[in-house]
C-alpha cells in the first residue's frame, strides 16, 4: 500500500514509489539521493507539524511537511 512519507513513524523504513509534484521538487530530491526505489529511514519528526529528518544513502536530509507529503512510499 502506498502512503505519503510524512505518515511514516520515527525509526521506520520506507521505499520510495514515486514523487508527485513538479519538475523542481523531483530534481531537487533526486540530487539528494531520493529517487523511486530508494530506501529511506525516517529518523525524527519535529513538533507542530514541522519537518521530518530522514536518512538516505548514509546522509541526513530535513524535509518540510509539504515536501514529505509529495513523496509516495511503501512501508518496509
Amino acid at each position: 500500500m502506498t502512503i505519503t512519507l510524512d505518515s511514516i513513524g520515527e525509526n521506520q523504513k520506507a521505499k520510495v514509489v514515486s514523487i508527485s509534484g513538479g519538475w523542481g521538487v523531483r530534481q531537487r530530491l533526486g540530487c539528494l539521493g531520493i529517487h523511486p526505489g530508494d530506501i529511506i529511514t525516517v529518523k525524527r519528526s519535529a513538533i507542530m507539524r514541522g519537518p521530518i529528518l530522514i536518512s538516505v544513502h548514509g546522509n541526513q536530509v530535513a524535509l518540510g511537511r509539504g515536501v514529505a507529503r509529495r513523496v509516495m512510499v511503501e512501508a518496509e
Binding site: 523531483r26 531537487r28 540530487c31 539528494l32 519535529a46
Partner: protein, 636 residues
Amino acid sequence: MKIALMGQPNSGKSTIFNHVAGYKAITSNFPGKTVKYELTKLNLLGRTAELVDLPGTYSLTSFDLAELEARKYLLKGNVDIVINVIDASLLSRSLELTLQLLELKLPMVICLNMIDEAERKGIKIDIEKLSKILGVPIVPTVAIKGKGIKDLFSAAHKVGEKKKIGKTINFSKDVEDVITQLSIQIKKKQIEQEFNVPERFLALKYLENDSYFMENYKKKSNVLFEEIAYFQNILKETHGRQSDVVISSERHHLSMNIYESVVSLTKPHTSLIDYLDNILMHPFLGYISLGLIFYLFFNLIFGAGKMVEEPLLDYFYKLIPLIGKSIDPNTLSFSIISGIIQGLAGGIAIVLPYLFPFLFGLAILEDLGYLPRIAFLLDAFLHKIGLHGKAIIPFILGYGCTVPAIMATRILESERDRFIASVLATMIPCAARMTIIFALVAFYISPQAALAVYILNIIVIIISGKILSRLLPEITPGMILEIPAYHIPSIKVALAKTWLRMKEFIFVAWPLLIVGSTILSLLQYYKMDVLINNFFSPLTSLLGLPLVVGTTLIFGILRKELSMLMLIQAIGTSNVVAVMSATQIMTFTIFVIFYVPCAATIAVLWKEIGSKRTLFTIAFTTILATILATITRFVY
C-alpha cells in the same frame, strides 16, 4: 590558466581555496554558505594560475541563485581545469555530479576530500579502481589539515598540460541511443550556442527538461524544439516516466554501481559527537538546548566585553583632560585631537570587546554544524511568518552583519521569500547594533534590559513577517535541506574567520569612526551641529531625546556603531547616565536598532532586491522605528 573548484555543497571547496589563498573565503559547516565566487592567484609549478572557488551545486541543473552562478561560471568562464571536490563520506551521491562534469569534456581532477571522515564511517574506497573507471586522476585529501593539497595541485597541473579528459560513462543501451540521436540532430542543426559545450551535454540537458536550456532554445529554433519533444517522448513511452526522471534515475544507478564496485564497507567507528543529535534535535530537549545555548552565548559576550570595556574607557577618558592641560581646550587643534582620540577609544574600548567574543562564538557554532539543526527546529515557526526553515540561516548570519545575511538569502528558492527574508534581516541587530545594546543598555541599565531588547526585537520581526507575508500571499516552497554531520571546530580556523570578519570593522568602520569623530568635533567647534540638531528637533522631541542626538543619527546611517560613539562625544561624557535617563537610553537604542539600514546594507539591498523594494525597506523600517521608539518613551 584558470582552475575551478566545483563540487556539491559542503564538500570543502572553500577550505581548499583558503589553503591556497589564505583565509579569504568564509567556511562553515552548512550546505550553501558560498553564494558568490572568489578568485585568487596561485603559483602552479612556476606558472601563474587563477583559482576560483565556486558556490556548491548538487547537479548541473540549478535551482537557486548561488547554484546558477556556479553553473554559469563553469559553462562560460573559460575554465581550463576542473577540480571536482567530493566529500568522500558521501561518494555515491557525489558521483552524480561527477558524471555530469565528465560530460563537459574538460581536463579534470577529482579531490576525494574528508577521506579520514569516510574511513571513520567505515567507507574504504579503492582509489585506483575509481580512477580507472572515470579516467581521471584522483587525489585523497583532508583539506582542513592541509593533507594532500600539494598533490592535488600538481595533479591538476599535469592534466592541464596534457589536456587529459576523462571517460564518458554510457547509460543503458536504449537511453544511450536516444542521447546519440539527439546529439546528432543538435550537431546537424548547427544552432548558435550561447555556451561552448559538447552536443552530448546539451542533449542530456534537453532530455532532463532543464528549464534554463529549454527557454534558451524555444526562442531561437522551433525545429529543434520539436525534435527535443519527440525524443523526450520516446523515453517517456519506453520507461513509463518523464524523461527527466529517466535520466536522473539512470545517472543514479550508474553512480550506485560505480560506488558499489569501488567501496568496501567496514564497521563504522562511532564517537560521542554522533549522539549529539539525540539532544540537539530532540523534540523537547532540542528547544531547551537552543534557548540555553543562546542564553549562555549572550552572557559570554556581555561578561567578556564588560571586563575589557570598563578599564579601557577609564583610561581613554583620563587622557583627554591631560591633553587639555597642554593645549588650550578652546582651540581648533584641541577639537581635532580630542575627536581622533574619541574615535580611537570608541573602537578599542567599546566595539572590539563585544565584537570579538560574538564573532568567535558564531564561528564555533557555524563550524560545528549547528545552524542547519536550528533550521530544522524552527521550520514550523518560520512557516507562521510565511517562510521556511532555511531562512533562519540568513537571520543568524544577520546577528553578525546584515550584508552577508542579505547575500545568504540567495539560498532561498523563491523571489518572494528572498524579499521578505531580506527586509526582516535588516531589522536583526547586527554586531554593530549589538555593541550599542551591550555598551549602552546592558552596561548602564542592566543585562536583563538588554535581553529584553533582543526579545522585543524578535517579536517585532515576527509581527513584521506576518504583515509582509499577508501583503504577499504566496505559499513558500517547502524546505529541503541537507543536515551535515557535525565537525569538531578547529580553533585556528575559527580565529581566522573571526579575524576576516573583524577586518571589516578595523579597516572600514574604524577609519570612518575616526573621521566621523573629527567631523563632529569640527561641527561643534564651528557650532554647525546646532543647525542639524534643529532640523531633527521634531523627531528628537517626539522621542523625548536630548537635542544633540540629532547629529548622531546621520552618522548612524553610515555605520550603526557610529551613532552610539557619536552620542558619547555629542553629550560630552562617556558617563551617559549623567546626561540621559534610562528611558532615554532605551528609546535611543530602540530607534537606532530599527531605523534605516546602514549604507553598506542599502547598497547590497539595491543589488539583490532592486531599488523600489529597497526604498520600501527604508520607509518601512523608519516608520517602524519611530513608532516603537515613541511607545518606548511612554511605556518604559
